[in-house]
Symmetry: C2
Subunit: 313 residues, 2 copies
Amino acid sequence: MKAIVLDSFGPADVLELRDVDQPEPGPGEILVKVHATSVNPVDAKIRERGSAYALEPPIILGYDVSGVIEAVGDGVDDLNEGDEVFYTPELNAHGAYAEYHVARAENVAFKPQSLSHEEAAAIPLAACTAWQALIDRAGLQAAETVLIHGGGGVGHFAVQIAYAAGAQVVVVGNPDMEDALLELGADEFVDYEDDAFEDTVDEISGGLGADVILDTVGGHLLAESIPSLARYGRMVTIVGDATGDLGKAYRKNAAIYPMMMERGAAMLDRIALLVDNGQLRPLIDRTMTLEDAADAHRLIERGGLEGKIVLTP
Amino acid sequence: MKAIVLDSFGPADVLELRDVDQPEPGPGEILVKVHATSVNPVDAKIRERGSAYALEPPIILGYDVSGVIEAVGDGVDDLNEGDEVFYTPELNAHGAYAEYHVARAENVAFKPQSLSHEEAAAIPLAACTAWQALIDRAGLQAAETVLIHGGGGVGHFAVQIAYAAGAQVVVVGNPDMEDALLELGADEFVDYEDDAFEDTVDEISGGLGADVILDTVGGHLLAESIPSLARYGRMVTIVGDATGDLGKAYRKNAAIYPMMMERGAAMLDRIALLVDNGQLRPLIDRTMTLEDAADAHRLIERGGLEGKIVLTP
């Protein structure tokens, strides 16, 4: 089968299209014909320094799949050949920049019926990250105020999940995305260069502060957001390089969750329900072919995209 | 009445015994004849730089009380003159280094019957801090492993609360305290100079790591403890200067709680129950008189105490 393989870590040039053996599903696994995958920031991070993820080349990247089950391994009872599924592969050496992918059955959910494969492939990793951050970790509830740093892949799903949860949503992002994010459910948009989110949060929360703050950007943003946090507020960061003096949040009796998304079909089932209810949809900047993976990486590293990049084999 | 007053922030010398007006209880308040108070590290911090706590001299320090109700204000129905009570005063300008103290009724609980006033006064602030950290914030449960940094005022109560909760307890402290902390319920004691808590936690938890880590010491200890944390473990710090790269805890999907104790009778009622059940008792290094407050501060700043310092008027 065709796949994009990297033989060493480095710049986008290391991504190479070639023929590799088609994988076979073991017990508890399924073989999926990949109809679409998508590019996430973590792809470029692993490509650049995969040893930090305990990975060794050769590696196939790609952590989103929408496709059709081609075969099921022993012990898989609830999935069948021909089922349309979507999921986010484990971060191992066998990602989904390929024509076929083998997945553990417990990570796989039925694709939302209302979406094409290209649309569905833009969802799993980013939407599960947003879901786990806001729902599982922060326990976001109706009438709470949430401040979301970043309106990109994870951020634009977070806006929609927070809106669906009945929260008041302030998102700090790229001004090119303002209209789209307001359309998706944000109550207030703040240009990330203006640094004025404190005033906006103060106003929308009646001075109580944000009950939940989600950081998808990193650096000092989380520490700088502490003054905008409500008492007993919760802060979640999905980026490992959150820095700054988080201990200062003791004055707020904060809960801080530095998180790493963990896969599971149950979460995807909820997300698929939101999608089919018309409450969640992906923004797609463009669709490219697998051959263009290196260009896709250059685009995501440059930033300023207005949605996900989808790749089709 | 006699009280220890400070007119400016600074070294222990600023603490001065003098006569001041006896306070009167307003609506919802009670007047308590202080039989004993105790010294906590926060007393010395406020004495040194109280402006960080938004306090202005003149100030009476002292955030533990065991005493007898002398009078009740309007609207106080559940407390009566003559009741023996214990509590931790709010961090305001009117602490308990004095013969009388006025408190809000909702912060006050009945003194454990099995203790003297001197013993009871050693409990409220430190035990409530330990309770809130382990129970309210970390949700410590039976069969979990807890790592406690520091076996001092808060730490020695944390050991007992964790033991009462059915947890396996590792405490890192001063070797002078080893026997006492093992006697109070610690399963393992680690000398804080040995830095060997990783191995001890690993062994007692069967390699899973500590479900809960409580930091009563500060500095880089919390960040350095991340490798000893279990997946989805909870870390609580009660010191505002916890530093280091806490974001790295994302690999553990940690919950981090930088906390500030908040008062309440409900928590003290639970603590009194533990005391009267024989499950919690204070270690008291020595009892001094109010006149000796400055010496007591010098002792607590020097460190190495083997329990609380109690002051009696």
